[in-house]
């Protein structure tokens, strides 16, 4: 299979196939980037005329022998796969991501903008109660933690956001979050539902769109 086209072949001399080492690089790149295993026939179609993908695959297979990834044959196609003995390293790849609930994201937003903030203050700002599960979820995600107790009667605990939170939202500090006026100026404050979220109830949506005409309200510190 290696020398199909002799030097006498006119096409081959006009469009000489790249050297085998180069073909090997090509196969490597194609297999790496492809979303599914690639057959020899397909490789033959994609490599420059006169290439010998079978030989290139064979060389590559040897090159990856014993490495962290291997070139394996699946049916009559080829693909890179993690070496089986290293599968334990891959277990983290299988996390299912779900959008945070609206209650949780609102609670989180209030904590981020008003920290340190007590639960009573969160409820006051949101206008509805905050369920224990919401706070627990945010604590468990390590996006919020307990801050200093407030020096008022009852010494309520306060909540603040964590490094993990800053990390997730690529923020250097919670102070860098834009205020309401800035949100509006940046065009971020519109009544378009956030991507992936269910549209808000129509009644609330109506109220909101009217909110953008009057002079922008200022964010004010929580009581």
């Amino acid at each position: 299979m290696t020398d199909r086209d002799g030097p006498s072949d006119r096409d081959a001399s006009l469009f000489a196939a790249p050297p085998l080492g180069e073909q090997e690089r090509m196969v490597e790149a194609v297999l790496f980037a492809s979303a599914s295993p690639v057959s020899l026939k397909e490789l033959f179609g994609r490599l420059p005329h006169g290439s010998d993908p079978a030989a290139a695959v064979e060389n590559l297979q040897r090159r990856y022998d014993g490495r962290g990834v291997r070139l394996v044959k699946i049916g009559d196609a080829y693909a890179f796969r993690t070496a089986p003995d290293l599968a334990f390293l891959m277990s983290r790849e299988t996390v299912e991501t779900r959008k945070l609930s609206r209650a949780a994201i609102e609670t989180l937003a209030i904590i981020a903008y008003h920290q340190p903030v007590t639960r009573a203050e969160i409820e006051e700002i949101r206008g509805v109660g905050v369920s224990r599960g919401t706070i627990d979820q945010l604590l468990e995600m390590d996006w919020i933690r307990l801050g200093r107790r407030r020096m008022t009667p009852g010494r309520p605990v306060t909540f603040v956001v964590t490094e993990t939170f800053l990390d997730h939202f690529s923020l250097e500090s919670a102070r860098d979050l834009p205020g309401l006026k800035e949100l509006r100026a940046a065009g971020l404050l519109d009544n378009r539902p956030p991507p992936g979220a269910e549209p808000p109830e129509p009644s609330e949506n109506d109220t909101q769109s009217e909110l953008f005409d009057p002079p922008p309200p200022e964010g004010e510190p929580a009581p």
């Binding site: 790149a29 790496f32 980037a33 492809s34 599914s36 693909a79 796969r81 993690t82 599968a87 891959m90 277990s91 983290r92 790849e93 299988t94 996390v95 299912e96 991501t97 779900r98 959008k99 945070l100 609206r102 949780a104 994201i105 609102e106 989180l108 937003a109 209030i110 981020a112 903008y113 700002i125 949101r126 206008g127 979820q137 008022t152 009667p153 009852g154 010494r155 939202f169 690529s170 923020l171 979050l177 834009p178 309401l180 949100l183 509006r184 971020l188 404050l189 956030p194 991507p195 979220a197 808000p200 609330e204 109220t207 909101q208 009217e210 909110l211 953008f212 309200p217 964010g219 009581p223």
Partner: protein
């Protein structure tokens, strides 16, 4: 649109036909300009010189001629184009008239130099933007792993949210709050039930004598009417707690602060 009164450095080879075509193209494209600076940059190209050696005076003339022509053709120009026209007319007078020693403020030369800087900077940004877009780009020139491998072992749910979600959620809450119906606002009266409901959980923490006024709700201490009402209701509520054996109350002398502390049931 080229101004015959003004010399155009390096622009002498522009035939009147080309100039007319260029002028017409500009008129047609007026919507395509991204603001006065963009228009100025385009006009400056007709001078065919390095932006650092551009004649700002000639440029001002060109711009003003452009605006006049647009007016003649009854093209509606956005306000910022007109603001720029006014500024350039001012700049032109500064450049042409001898400097007035009594006049404070920047000289015409300084203003012209800054405009030239702005044009040069905008052009430089456009150049690098084009260079940036021409780089090896992911998904076009270089490629990531096509088939991400995931070994289905641990299935864990991870909750996530984007920064936009966060900021929009906050905006949603705060704007909603602004429009809370007036009737829902609390009046200047704190009822004893409210004070009691408030005091009951708070007193559970107060093992030490604490001034009664510390228990007034936030926002009720400053306004005298609200303060009186809150004080009365909280005092009545504290008496109720004392009656139930949940608290102790004391006042060292007349008009001295009234102090309150939790009473342990085992005492």
């Amino acid at each position: 649109m080229t101004d015959p009164d003004l010399p155009q450095p390096g622009g002498g080879n522009v035939t009147s036909l080309e100039a007319r075509l260029a002028a017409e193209a500009l008129i047609v494209d007026v919507d395509g300009f991204e603001g006065p600076l963009d228009l100025l940059l385009t006009l400056s190209r007709t001078q065919k010189v390095d932006l650092r050696r551009i004649s700002v005076l000639a440029l001002a003339e060109q711009y003003l001629a452009f605006v006049d022509q647009a007016k003649e053709l009854r093209i509606e120009l956005a306000a910022d184009y007109l603001v720029m026209a006014a500024w350039l007319a001012f700049l032109k007078s500064r450049l042409l008239l001898p400097p007035d020693p009594k006049d404070e403020g920047p000289s015409g030369e300084d203003m012209a130099a800054h405009l030239a800087f702005q044009l040069e900077r905008l052009e430089a940004m456009r150049d690098v933007a084009a260079k940036l877009m021409g780089r090896d780009r992911l998904g076009r020139d270089v490629f990531a792993r096509g088939e991400e491998e995931s070994v289905a072992r641990v299935r864990r749910t991870r909750f996530t949210a984007s920064l936009l979600d966060l900021m929009q959620a906050y905006a949603r809450i705060r704007t909603k709050d602004e429009f809370r119906p007036f009737v829902l606002d609390r009046g200047p009266i704190l009822s004893m039930e409210e004070a009691l409901a408030r005091l009951r959980p708070l007193i559970a923490f107060a093992g030490d004598w604490t001034d009664l006024s510390a228990y007034l709700p936030d926002g009720w201490q400053t306004d005298p009417a609200r303060r009186r009402s809150a004080m009365a209701a909280t005092f009545a509520a504290s008496l109720e707690l004392v009656k139930r054996g949940q608290a102790e109350i004391q006042q060292s002398e007349t008009f001295a602060p009234i102090r309150l502390r939790r009473k342990d049931p085992h005492d």
